[in-house]
Amino acid sequence: MKVKHHLILTLGTALLLVSCGQQNQSSNGALSSSAAEKVYVAPGEQDEFYAFLSGGYSGNLTVYGLPSGRMFKEIPVFSQFPTSGYGYSEETIPMLNTSHGFVPWDDLHHPDISQTNGELDGRWIFVNGNNTPRIARVDLSTFETAEIIEVPNSAGNHSSSFITENTEYVVAGTRFAVPVPQRDMSISEYKGNFKGALTFISVDPEHGHMAIKFQLLMPGFNYDLSHPGRGKSHGWFFFTTYNTEEANTLLEVNASQNDKDFIAAINWKKIEEYVNNGGGTKMPANYAHNVYDEHSHTGTTTMKDEVLTVDPTKVPGAVFFLPTPKSPHGCDVDPTGQYIIGNGKLSADLTVHSFDKMIAAIEGEKFDGEAYGIPILKFEDVLAGQVKSGGLGPLHTEFDGKGNAYTTFFISSEVVKWQLGTWEVIDRKPTYYSVGHLMIPGGNSRKPFGKYVVAMNKITKDRYLPTGPEMEHSAQIYDISGDKMELIYDFPTHGEPHYAAGCPADLLTANSRKIYRLDENRHPYAVTTADGSKVVRDGNEVHVYMSTIRSHFTPDNIEGIKVGDKVYFHITNHEQDFDVPHGFSILGQNTSELLIMPGQTKTSVWEPKQVGVWPFYCTDFCSALHQEMQGYVRVSPANSNIELKWSLGE
């Protein structure tokens, strides 16, 4: 034991010496043996929590384990993903359809796990596409994208995709005010003419299917972030705003002039009732609704042509503005639903509003004027307290369920722990560097699991081995089980995480699918029996009904294909064994490979341009005979009379 201590001391000294002149000794805390024990998940052991980190501009969602920081999966959502063929296969191309056509990328933000009674239920996770406004639902039994709905009349879908406490709605607010409906008009006429749409998308409690219930057409501010009320404030939704100046140019100056912007408090239950009683105005719209069917393994796009809009001034008592200083960014609600936190990103302080005070002020009709017909409450009447943090640039706050809140400060690069009610700062720890979001598993619910907080940083610089000018972002894990936060780990993340959601592992592990059942495969081109393979010509379209099992394709020799044909390889994986995917690629494929899970069918289109005999092969090392899993397609000139034939083992 003594020897070990000496060793650690010597090592520590050596590292100190090595890092001399490289600053920040505080990061050596992570080298202490107790920190190592806290994050060490031994080989064969599993993590305590799942963490779903948004991929930002990667367009995808990444799955990590806590406390190890190990990445388990990248779930393709808004971006084409050649690894699996998502967005390339015929089945998944429809998932990326929009009213602007096929949009193969987005900027994915703000994962939120479905809830029941304000607690995580682990059925689905919702994420938003920021650029071409979309909301996606990822199924947490398959860890695949199940549905994507486009949000019309929105632009910069940023105050999204947060859910109400029984997953009644997933909410999508617009960051950019735009003309509604879109039209050709002068940009300088923005003020007073543009609108900010806040969209409430209902979620079917059984299947999770999304449908736009209504759009609230708010004044043309920028709706930055949002969170639902919970507990006593269930039925309300809160949105931060900036650019209440309604500037349309040089916003960094012009949108920072008002001392206070607003948090918009929306009584969505009241609006829901108004809409259910026939309120609202139907407006022509054009947006895509893409649903993936797990049994046909196929996504389908339906274009919708109408949306129900609501004028907030037509529903008295439903919408109020809470003045909040300094262009607030994050809008967070504590687990009890009592406190609404505005993270004034251009200030040192946090503003905390009281739900009870807000209700009292509304009932007392103590208004401080109005904006576009929407009553403004008096700042002092709704204020619960201010956190004098001493930090700079607060962005986001999460909660540990023990009466504490944790706020990130971008400019001063730190996480600050403070107490709800007393507003006292308890602890602060630096982040490396310039933290954006943070996440405590369940930290945005009635029941947080306050053991770890993950800080997701915007700047990496020297944290890892250099990889040229472009590098992954860094994240830190802090143990928050004690009074003081303890930095225990540091790991790179993929893309740029904008928020994350976490939950205890056992909420999901039991439901995680191992295979798709072949006997439930309803794909129209599936081959579900060993002898069902065939090749069918329909004009210049050729459909290959192909099956795979360790380790061969059926068929593996195909002749009679001609230059100019459009060949659809419909490949069904006949395996019913956990973790035995097969891949498919063919020389000259203009799309990507396919990775086909057991029981699944996927389709790749191949348009051969050259005469010859072209090989295809399995890309996933499936067995000891994986290397032999290959075949040939003979491509003849367009005018040839070679008969279509196919075989295996002849």
Partner: protein, 204 residues
């Protein structure tokens, strides 16, 4: 003798468990199968421990040229065994009742036990014959033809009882619930014979 006869009535009834529970179980674990594949041997057919285990065992075994696991119609045993067990249960219970009524002596109890044991041994012999065939009657065109260190072709007979390491697989073969219930039932009939003998001895 009444006590012995009751045991003789109850004992054979335990064999009815064979219609519900597997007689035998073979588990196959490997590094890449942390959740082992499993084969339950019922008197009326083979079933996977998990739904797709049989398909997956067959899939793996085809590399080394083993035949697929037999379906119900492939082996006469699967249609005959349920009938034999049914007859033996009926016979045992009948002997017990007649013993209870004082029509038969305890020797019949031991007779039933002896007959059942003989059938059990024959059954095990038959089962072992199948295991030998399954593990050695290999496809000459097998993908992988492995040899033992002495140059003889490697065979893959699963153990009748116990554990064997076979290539990357740990194969464990043990009686399962139905088998244990049968064993327990037979022991009860043996006890019935013993108590019958003891009461006879006490009377004389």
């Amino acid at each position: 003798m009444k006590k012995a006869s009751i045991l003789m009535i109850v004992g054979p009834l335990f064999l009815l468990g064979l219609y519900v529970f597997p007689l035998w179980n073979i588990m196959l674990g490997a590094p890449q199968y942390p959740d082992p594949l499993g084969l339950n041997i019922h008197i009326n057919g083979l079933r996977g421990v998990s739904e797709f285990d049989i398909q997956n065992i067959d899939g793996l075994n085809h590399y080394i040229g083993m035949h697929t696991l037999p379906k119900v119609e492939d082996m006469w045993e699967f249609s005959t065994f349920p009938i034999i067990i049914g007859i033996m249960v009926g016979l045992g219970v009948l002997i017990g009742i007649l013993g209870f009524l004082g029509k038969l002596s305890y020797k019949w109890f031991l007779g039933w036990f002896a007959l059942m044991s003989l059938m059990g041994i024959l059954g095990m012999y038959d089962f072992n014959e199948w295991l030998v065939d399954y593990g050695t009657n290999l496809d000459p065109n097998a993908i992988m033809k492995l040899t033992n260190p002495d140059g003889t072709p490697m065979t893959y007979k699963p153990p009748l009882l116990g554990h064997v390491k076979m290539l990357n697989f740990d194969v464990t073969s043990l009686p399962a619930t139905g088998g244990w219930l049968m064993f327990l039932g037979m022991m009860l009939t043996l006890a019935a014979g013993y108590f019958g003998w003891k009461s006879k001895k006490n009377k004389t």
